[in-house]
Structure formats: structure tokens, C-alpha cells
């Protein structure tokens, strides 16, 4: 592959596109597929074929368009009319409307709403726009041009400099500066080195990485290849959850295509640089999102973490220096190298640069995927983009960061969403899941839910986490059943402190967060369960008789 060949593909794609008078794109990501988007695509393709319009109208499967709740989504270009909840029975009418150039009002999805208008797309720029199964379309969307630019004239130090200048921080949750991590691996004297993409998106309620992998897999491969060049690695692994079969399928296909075109493998773009990527499947263990546990899992072992230091940057996979970044982090790399670190740093806040992809779910009108600049107000995300709480109910809390995060109550709705502000109120940015809760959710029950999760996902290696999460879960069960005394809240708080300060890895250290934040902001609900033997939200099954002292 040379830059001329790359340009040829770009031109050929442009010519093909220009040949069609209209393109009908159907979202083929997991969300819409479960509403039978594949049947819609097949029905549309059959209609086009039966009317012999194959040269005029193009029917394409593309990636995620974001508004998962309204799927299957269909977009017609060049007019850019989006349709929602399309079924295969609508195919004939839809095609006719495209031919007549009159939007089919019955199914039109309003794209003028803030959900679409207030997004800034960097990571998701190609999602819903290109066919993830065709590398040519990624190349036509400036794909692999960053890798070409890097390999044809930038030194390793220059790449590291751009990534550092961008201010990009790890999108997996902890927010470690990416440039610093890359530089540490680059400086490590030992070889070989490895690059790992963490696609073990285990947080329940988070589906950003799944959508990126399903909609634009080449972007992740390109980011990994640039990382490998900058750090001196030649082998990469993508550790993906087995629960995401479609993402794995599209990744495998993408790797094969990139290898065939010489964009992965030996002598990429005619240089000395070579890089191969292999996929490793997870097997359903939340703790494997922790980097040392993930490394153990790639080595074929039980996914248990080990103490750090040494950090994987010094001693990771098979004891070699290893760079581990999250899917979304890698997805930011190609645009940063294309447009420069300063461009990226101009977006977002002082300490959190760029954009963040959030998965909005729970009791919110527009569930789906959004990408917004760092520093947007939480209220704007939930009530403007998210469309607020449905059924006229009242907002209670938003849960960020999965089982490691916390619940953010109403009084903080006007805070900026960035790494540091979220940490200040006791939660974490996490990977980007945002679960909105209204008054029908009981916060004791929510805390119990997360502790049940952490209890059964604890790997069992360190005692504070193995035993502590079980005890905390027991206490929360007693509270939710109305059997607990007020002293048990104190005991619960002591356990929170113990786990936070003595657990081996992030799972145990952050497991108390859902409890601590609900105790801090919704203490009255705990008190109601204990004193009044009642659940204000009517969720918990109270076992104690009302207004009777129960001995602990």
C-alpha cells in the first residue's frame, strides 16, 4: 500500500457514491439489529432489485446512528432524512418516497432536536455514516491517512509529542494521561513490547465501546498501529468481551481486510514498521477490565489482578512492557494525528480535553449514544440531549461509572461533566455509562444491586474485597428488608472505608462508591427502611412488621 493507492481508493469510492441518486442507510448495530434492522435492509434491497433500480439507489448497512430507543433507524442521503421504527412492511412506501423525493412523514425522526444538534463527533464521526464491513469506506473517510502521515515523516518522539499536547486522558475510567502512558512504554528498554486494546466493556449500562467496534472497527486498528509505532511495539491484542459477538465478527473482518491491503502486517506503507493484531475473547469476568487481570486472561490464566507496581508499562504481557488503552482512547488517536494535538486540546475543559461518548439509559426519553465536549452541564446532557424523564416523573439521580461509580443527585445537575468534577461529588467518570433514575427507584435497592454485582464478580484473591463485599451485601439486604438497626449503617460505613483503603485492585477499592454516595445524598431513604420499616419508592419487600423494634 502506498499513499497513491490510498488516494485511488478514495477517488473510486467518491465516484461510486456520485453514481447513485440516493443512498438508503440502515443501522446495523446490535441495538437496531435486535429490532430486526436486517429484515428492513433485506426488504429494501429486494424492493430496489424488483424495481431494477440497483444503479440509482444504494441500500447500505451502516453503524450506530445513536438513538437506539427509536430503532430500527434508516437515513436517506443526500437529503439526510432520518426515519425511526421502520419495519420491513414499510420498505415499498419508503423506497417510493425516496424516488418521489417526498419524505415519508409517518416515520420521520426529527433530527433538529438537541439530541442530534448538540453533539460534537470525533470518536463517532463515522458511526452511522460508513459501512463497517468495507475498509474502502473507512479509507474514503480519511481513514488510515493518519497512519500514513505518521509513518511517512514523523519520528516516534513527534507522535508522542502530539498525543501529549492533545491532553487526551484514558477513556476507560481512571483518566490517566495517555501521552504519559505512551512515553513510559516508549522509554522502557526491554523488547518485545505489546499494545493491548481493552474492549472488555464490563460496566453494566455502558455500550460505547461496543458501538464503536461495531460501527467503525478500523478506527481502533489505526489508533493501535499508531500507538505501536510510537512505543516500539509490533504485536497487538484486542481483548473483547465474548458477550459482543457482532463486534468480534466485524473486528475479525476488519483485521483481515487491513492485512490484505497491507495496512497491518509487515512493512506497512513500505516502511520498516510492522504490526499484527489478534483478538482474544473474554469469558464473562468483570474484573478482567482491570489491566493486570486482563493481561493474565490473555495469558490464558484466571483473571486475577496483581499488585502494581510494576505497572504494565514496565512489566505487562509475558513480563514485557505493555501499553493498555481503552477502545475509545484508541479511537481518538487518528483524528489527533490528522488534525494535531492543539486542535484536540482546544475542545473541552482545562483538565479534561476533547469529547466523551456517553451511553444514556434508564429512565430517560432518548436512550442511546451521544458524544459531547467535556465540560457540558449534566442538566443539559440529561434534559436537553436526553429529553428529560418520561411519563412526567421526577428526576432522582444519575448513576455514572457503573459498579465503581456513584449516584449524583439533583443538587449537582448544574455541574460540568469532566473527570475532576465528577470525582468531587464522589462518583467517577468511568467508561461513560449514564443510568438515569426517577422516583420509582429505591436507592437502597440500587446500592444492593451494585454490591450484589461486586460480590459475585470479586475474583477472591484479596480478603477485603472477597469478604467485605459479601458483608456489605448482607447488610444492605437487611436494611432493604427492614431488619437492620441504625448501628448497622455505621458498620456499613466502616466497611466502605476498609474496602477503599485495603483492596488490591480497583474493583474492591471502588465497590463502596455506590453505597457511599447513596448514604451521603439519600440517607433519609436508608433511615426510612430502618425506622419506619417502609420503602419510600415501594421497591423493597419489607419483611419486618411495621413500627416494631427488631433486635439486630
Amino acid at each position: 500500500m502506498t499513499s497513491e493507492e490510498l488516494n485511488k481508493i478514495v477517488q473510486a469510492e467518491a465516484e461510486t457514491s456520485a453514481g447513485f441518486t440516493a443512498t438508503i442507510d440502515i443501522c446495523m448495530a446490535a441495538g437496531c439489529l435486535s429490532s430486526h434492522a436486517d429484515q428492513v435492509r433485506d426488504a429494501l434491497a429486494a424492493q430496489v432489485k424488483s424495481k431494477d433500480l440497483g444503479k440509482k439507489v444504494r441500500v447500505r448497512g451502516v453503524g450506530c446512528m445513536g438513538l437506539c430507543a427509536a430503532g430500527p433507524l434508516v437515513n436517506v442521503s443526500p437529503k439526510q432524512v432520518m426515519y425511526q421504527e421502520v419495519s420491513q412492511a414499510d420498505a415499498a412506501e419508503l423506497l417510493q418516497s425516496v424516488l418521489d423525493d417526498k419524505p415519508m412523514q409517518r416515520l420521520v425522526c426529527n433530527t433538529q432536536i438537541p439530541f442530534f444538534q448538540r453533539q460534537t463527533k470525533i470518536v463517532l464521526e463515522n458511526c452511522g455514516v460508513i459501512d463497517p464491513d468495507r475498509i474502502e469506506e473507512y479509507i474514503a473517510a480519511e481513514g488510515y491517512s493518519a497512519l500514513q502521515k505518521v509513518l511517512s515523516g514523523m519520528t516516534q518522539a513527534e507522535v508522542l509529542e502530539q498525543v501529549t499536547r492533545s491532553g487526551l486522558r484514558g477513556r476507560g475510567g481512571a483518566g490517566f494521561p495517555t501521552g504519559l502512558k505512551w512515553t513510559t512504554v516508549a522509554k522502557a528498554p526491554m523488547t518485545p513490547k505489546y499494545v493491548i486494546c481493552n474492549a472488555d466493556e464490563g460496566d453494566p449500562g455502558a455500550f460505547m465501546d461496543r458501538s464503536v467496534l461495531e460501527s467503525d472497527p478500523h478506527r481502533v486498528l489505526e489508533g493501535m498501529a499508531i500507538a505501536a509505532y510510537a512505543t516500539g511495539a509490533s504485536v497487538g491484542y484486542i481483548y473483547c468481551r465474548a458477550e459482543y459477538p457482532l463486534a468480534v465478527k466485524r473486528l475479525k473482518n476488519a483485521i483481515r481486510q487491513a492485512e490484505r491491503m497491507g495496512l497491518l502486517g509487515a512493512n506497512i506503507f513500505g516502511t520498516q514498521f510492522g504490526f499484527t493484531v489478534d483478538i482474544r475473547l473474554g469469558a464473562g469476568a468483570f474484573v478482567c477490565g482491570e489491566e493486570t487481570a486482563l493481561i493474565h486472561s490473555i495469558e490464558g490464566k484466571r483473571g486475577t489482578p496483581r499488585p502494581r507496581p510494576p505497572f504494565p508499562a514496565q512489566s505487562g504481557l509475558w513480563g514485557c512492557p505493555t501499553l493498555i488503552n481503552n477502545v475509545e482512547t484508541f479511537a481518538n488517536i487518528a483524528p489527533i494525528l490528522r488534525k494535531g494535538g492543539d486542535w484536540f486540546a482546544s475542545i473541552g475543559t482545562e483538565k479534561s480535553k476533547g469529547t466523551k461518548v456517553f451511553a444514556l439509559a434508564g429512565r430517560v426519553a432518548n436512550t442511546g449514544l451521544i458524544e459531547v465536549p467535556m465540560g457540558m452541564k449534566l442538566r443539559d446532557i440529561i434534559f436537553e440531549l436526553g429529553g428529560g424523564i418520561p411519563d412526567g416523573r421526577k428526576y432522582k439521580a444519575v448513576q455514572t461509572g457503573g459498579p465503581s461509580g456513584g449516584c449524583i443527585p439533583e443538587q449537582f445537575l448544574d455541574m460540568d461533566v469532566d473527570y475532576d468534577s465528577i470525582a468531587k461529588v464522589g462518583s467517577i467518570m468511568g467508561s461513560g455509562g449514564m443510568i438515569v433514575m426517577d422516583e420509582t427507584s429505591c436507592m437502597v435497592d440500587v446500592a444492593k444491586f451494585f454490591l450484589e454485582f461486586c460480590r459475585s464478580e470479586s475474583c477472591g484473591k484479596c480478603t477485603p474485597c472477597r469478604v467485605g463485599t459479601a458483608h456489605m451485601h448482607d447488610l444492605l439486604c437487611r436494611i432493604s428488608e427492614g431488619l437492620a438497626s441504625e448501628e448497622e449503617i455505621i458498620l456499613l460505613e466502616e466497611l466502605c472505608d476498609l474496602l477503599k483503603s485495603t483492596s488490591l485492585c480497583g474493583l474492591g477499592q471502588t465497590a463502596p462508591n455506590p453505597v457511599l454516595t447513596t448514604l451521603k445524598y439519600f440517607r433519609n431513604e436508608y433511615i426510612a427502611h430502618i425506622q419506619d420499616k417502609s420503602c419510600p419508592a415501594g421497591v423493597c419487600a419489607i419483611k419486618a412488621p411495621a413500627h416494631q423494634e427488631v433486635q439486630a
Binding site: 446490535a30 437506539c68 455502558a206 461496543r210 469469558a283 464473562g284 490464558g300 442511546g368 464478580e457
Partner: protein, 166 residues
């Protein structure tokens, strides 16, 4: 050493072992491919039995204890055969908030099958998932690999009835 250790022979003439062997060979019989090999066995046979674990331990030159340790560590691997049909209810946060528990209760009340169990006639297994990533469609469940979103207890029973009365 390799002269003494002839490659292990599959436990039976079942053709599915050929697929398992292909995975073992693709990874050069390396111990670090254990999880990949366990995935293949489970895809081919539906679960991991003792015979399979013993075979992988020989073929990859790993202690049986290690193979057993890995097979039991990860939630996705199962040592018990599944029912003819499987129904996986997502218990991720978004689904939980939107009433996934009611789906499990509906099935348990009608058929007496608890999560992680298989009905007595072996027709259906009920499982739970940590998160399917279909949070936009909460609550979601998977019926024999087919993801269905925004379902309630009645939808659930309608789907399951077809299997149970077949």
C-alpha cells in the same frame, strides 16, 4: 521432550473434536490459548465436561487443576449441559431499573425455573447476563440467540410458551 509426548488423542471419534483440534493447532498447542480452546469446546458441545477438560489439559500440557480453575473462574463457561432452548435475561443496571427482575419472576412463577437452572424436562434454561449492551432497549432478553428489547412479563411468557408446549 516432544519425542516422549506424542500429541494427545481426542476422547472420541465425534467430528466436533476436529474443530477443537483446529483451534489447538492454530495457537501452536500453547498453554496461553486455554481460554480460546475452552470457547471452542463450549461452542461445539454446549458445555465443558470432565472429558473435555482432561483432553485440553493433555493437549496444551497444562495441569488439570489449572484447566479446571480457569473453566470455573469465568462466568461464561458452564460445566452443566444447557436445556434445549435458552433464555438469557439481561440484569445490567439499565434493565434492572426498568424491571428485569419482573421478567425472571414471571418465568419462575409459571415454570418454577430459577436463574441458572434448567426446567425438569430439559426444554429450557434460564440464565442471566451482566449486561448485553442493549441498554437502549431495556429491559432486554435473548431467546436462543435472538435479542428482544423492551419486553414485559407477558411478552416473555409468550415466547417461552412456544418452547415449553412444543
Amino acid at each position: 521432550m516432544s519425542m516422549l509426548n506424542a500429541p494427545a488423542q481426542p476422547p472420541s471419534a465425534d467430528k466436533r473434536w476436529k474443530l477443537v483440534d483446529a483451534t489447538i493447532r492454530r495457537h501452536g498447542r500453547q498453554g496461553d490459548s486455554l481460554i480460546e480452546c475452552l470457547h471452542t469446546v463450549q461452542e461445539c458441545f454446549g458445555f465443558l465436561d470432565e472429558q473435555a477438560l482432561r483432553y485440553l489439559s493433555q493437549a496444551l500440557s497444562l495441569p488439570l487443576s489449572k484447566v479446571f480453575g480457569v473453566a470455573t473462574f469465568y462466568n461464561l463457561f458452564t460445566l452443566k449441559p444447557k436445556g434445549e432452548h435458552t433464555c438469557v435475561v439481561c440484569m445490567g443496571t439499565a434493565c434492572y431499573i426498568k424491571g428485569a427482575q419482573a421478567l425472571l419472576t414471571a418465568i419462575q412463577e409459571k415454570y418454577g425455573v430459577k436463574p441458572g437452572e434448567t426446567s425438569e424436562d430439559g426444554k429450557m434454561s434460564v440464565l442471566t447476563a451482566r449486561c448485553l449492551g442493549s441498554c437502549g432497549l431495556a429491559p432486554a432478553a435473548v431467546f436462543d440467540g435472538d435479542v428482544a428489547g423492551k419486553i414485559n412479563g407477558n411478552d416473555m411468557l409468550k415466547r417461552v410458551e412456544k418452547w415449553m408446549e412444543a
